[in-house]
């Protein structure tokens, strides 16, 4: 079993504090969902864990099996087992999806022990078929000209090929039509198991109809303010966030604008 521990995490962007002490522990074989209103720092949490250059951690730790990933470069975090499915994946012209994926897989292997082309293609074909992606997408340039849904599928394709220990999914469901949502969920569900833990960030309870979380957390004003099971998500869907504010005595302050 592996553990991802977020301890008292404070994060600033351009000098403004967005995360104000997040605590969260995720084990493999668990799926956690983080919900919450816009601008409460959910995406900031995902980006800070992965090491986005714009986010500055001012306090706290993120431990992967006891190792502080905040001291690692972005690529080292990925190699240690983290994966972030991004809300707005970058487009890289001139680099094919297939070449990029092979580089990512080989980056985890020793020189001289690169994945064979045959094995790679076989696995890629199989995974793309599973995600109902047309074959030609392997040869298209990375995310270039992809629709919103294609980009999200492509994120899941990468996750399935790279096989991280922890997958963080930043609004993987936003803007997806129902068919795409089903496919994306199928991919995530296929990853579930002993060797995989998942943190899903979402605005919408609908995603949780397809991927049943073991834990649901609510974030407000830069903190996790409430945790529970699947039933918490259902209550949020039915009643909104006002009752939590009332229960915890949270007053609305100006919300932050989140960026990818």
């Amino acid at each position: 079993m592996a553990t991802l521990e977020i301890k008292d995490l404070h994060v600033e962007i351009d000098g403004k504090e967005i995360l104000k002490g997040v605590n969260l522990t995720i084990n493999t074989n668990e799926v956690h969902a983080i919900m919450g209103p816009n601008g409460t720092g959910k995406s900031t949490l995902a980006s800070a864990i992965m090491g986005h250059p714009k986010y500055e951690v001012t306090q706290g730790e993120v431990l992967l099996d006891g190792e502080n990933v905040l001291e690692m470069e972005v690529d080292e975090r990925a190699q240690a087992g983290l994966f972030l499915a991004m809300q707005y994946p970058s487009e890289i012209a001139g680099v094919t999806n297939a070449d990029f994926l092979r580089s990512a897989i080989n980056a985890r292997r020793e020189e001289g022990d690169e994945i064979s082309l045959m094995k790679f293609i076989k696995e890629l074909d199989k995974t793309m078929e599973f995600l109902e992606m047309p074959e030609e997408m392997a040869q298209r340039y990375l995310n270039e000209g992809f629709s919103g849904g294609e980009k999200k599928r492509n994120e899941i394709l990468q996750m399935m090929m790279i096989k991280p220990t922890f997958g963080i999914l930043d609004e993987i469901d936003s803007g997806l039509d129902i068919d795409a949502l089903k496919v994306v969920s199928k991919g995530i569900n296929a990853m579930r198991g002993e060797g995989f833990g998942c943190l899903m960030i979402t605005h919408y309870q609908r995603l949780l109809n397809y991927i049943t979380p073991d834990y649901v957390h609510v974030m407000m004003q830069g903190k996790v303010v409430k945790s529970g099971g699947q039933e918490l998500a259902q209550k949020l869907e039915a009643e909104g966030y006002e009752w939590i504010k009332a229960e915890l005595g949270i007053e609305d302050t100006d919300t932050v604008t989140e960026e990818a």
Binding site: G51, H52, E73, D75, R77, V95, S103, Y141
Partner: protein, 435 residues
């Protein structure tokens, strides 16, 4: 007022060099006369790059003596890694200033095709040399560097393709630089007679890391009526030269000159590429890719001048600047009066990978005729840090991420180069340069 420059060689030395190589008297006079002009003429003025302080004159020595290659096995490993020399049917290798290996298929020789080093050409094909050597495409007295080149020519190659002859296999020329004292005053003269066709590829490789001399190369491509010349080059010389690379085309009626250039030399370099579309229906498609590194200064001036009616000029340039490299991409489409129905298009894209790198694109259209079409596109930008973050978030190192971005940025040029050999060589050279 012109100030006379003190040149590296005296007239007597130039004449002695000429005599030593058994050149005809006329060529010795040509050199001596050019040297005189080099002293008086001004440097060229590449737009937006001030070269008045560049040292284009001093050489450690005019020529170095190198041993020829008895067989291709003797080629340095760096050369073998880039070129499959064994597979070349038509191959000329020059080592520093010495003709080191020549192989021309008998079939081509039987058809009258000439592929030879420039000094042999000056001796054995004096009539053709006299007719075309700096008479049609490039003139001696254009500026100090053309004149200096004419006076000091110490290498290069002559390719002559007779009327109606199609050279099926590319001609591969390799210029090996393995002596830090060497200066390369190479002259490449390609004459394609009416309705002939040839693909020529030249590769410059340094196997030493230091250079002290000059690179002053003049290339003349002359395509007569209905001839087709595809010219490929992979320049990969080391830092330390002051380099002037002039590659010029002269296309007559219905002729076509295409350029496929990978410009990866690490020295400060002025690249001047002009194609004159003289005849009606003549065309030129110019493609180049470059990667600038270190503190090198680069100027790429590409001009297609169109006199011919219905002529077509296409320029596509992509460049990546790393470290503190500085570059200017000048692109000029010039349609002359009378060139009705001509089309001139150009596109320049520059990507800067680091804070210290500089790149400027300067697209110019000069149109002296009404009934024409023309267009240009240019962009200059820095690498998007979120792109690198995205790639790195998949476990790819920063170096590898940059490598992917560079390959990706150059891909629209590299994958569309018309010569397979250049594509392969260039991909390998880029790989080595960005590693």
């Amino acid at each position: 007022m012109t100030v006379e420059t003190k040149l590296a060689l005296l007239v007597e030395e130039v004449r002695a060099f000429s005599q030593q190589h058994g050149e005809p008297q006329a060529f010795a006079d040509f050199r001596a006369n050019a040297l005189q002009q080099a002293a008086e003429l001004d440097l060229p003025k590449p737009d937006r790059t001030n070269i008045s302080k560049w040292n284009f004159i001093d050489v450690a020595t005019h020529t170095v003596e190198s041993a020829a290659y008895a067989s291709l096995d003797e080629l340095p490993a760096d050369v073998k890694a880039i070129i499959d020399a064994e597979a070349q049917q038509n191959l000329y290798i020059q080592r520093n200033n010495t003709p080191a290996f020549t192989r021309v298929s008998d079939a081509l020789t039987a058809k009258g095709v000439i592929i030879t080093d420039i000094q042999t050409a000056v001796r054995d094909h004096a009539d053709l040399v006299e007719q075309y050597f700096m008479t049609t495409a490039v003139k001696v007295d254009e500026h100090k560097l053309t004149a200096y080149h004419a006076a000091l020519v110490n290498g290069g190659v002559f390719v002559y393709v007779p009327r109606n002859v199609i050279v099926e296999e590319p001609i591969q020329v390799v210029f090996v630089h393995d002596n830090t004292e060497a200066s390369l005053f190479n002259h490449v003269l390609i004459v394609a007679e009416q309705s002939s066709a040839v693909t020529y590829v030249e590769t410059y490789i340094s196997t030493v890391e230091e250079a002290k001399g000059q690179v002053n190369v003049v290339t003349e491509v002359i395509a007569k009526d209905n001839a087709q010349v595809t010219f490929g080059a992979v320049d990969n010389l080391t830092a330390g030269f002051t380099a002037y690379m002039n590659r010029r085309g002269h296309a007559e009626r219905d002729a076509k000159i295409d350029w496929a250039l990978g410009l990866m030399t690490s020295s400060d370099t002025i690249y001047e590429n002009t194609t004159n579309l003289i005849g009606d229906n003549s065309t030129s498609d110019f493609k180049m890719a470059t990667v600038g590194t270190g503190t090198q200064k680069l100027n790429f001036t590409t001009l297609i001048r169109q006199w011919g009616k219905n002529s077509d000029g296409q320029i596509l340039k992509h460049g990546v600047m790393k470290d503190a490299a500085q570059s200017i991409f000048n692109g000029i489409g010039h349609i002359m009066h009378g060139g009705t129905k001509a089309n001139a298009e150009q596109e320049s894209r520059v990507l800067m990978l680091s804070e210290g790198a500089r790149g400027d694109a300067n697209p110019i259209l000069l149109i002296d005729e009404d009934d024409v079409t023309a267009g240009h596109a240019a962009s200059v930008g820095r690498v998007d840090p979120t792109q690198l973050y995205y790639l790195m978030s998949r476990g790819i190192s920063q170096t590898e991420a940059e490598r992917l971005v560079i390959h990706g940025f150059l891909a629209p040029v590299v994958t569309n180069l018309p010569i397979e050999g250049v594509k392969k060589q260039l991909t390998e050279v880029i790989e080595r340069k960005v590693r």
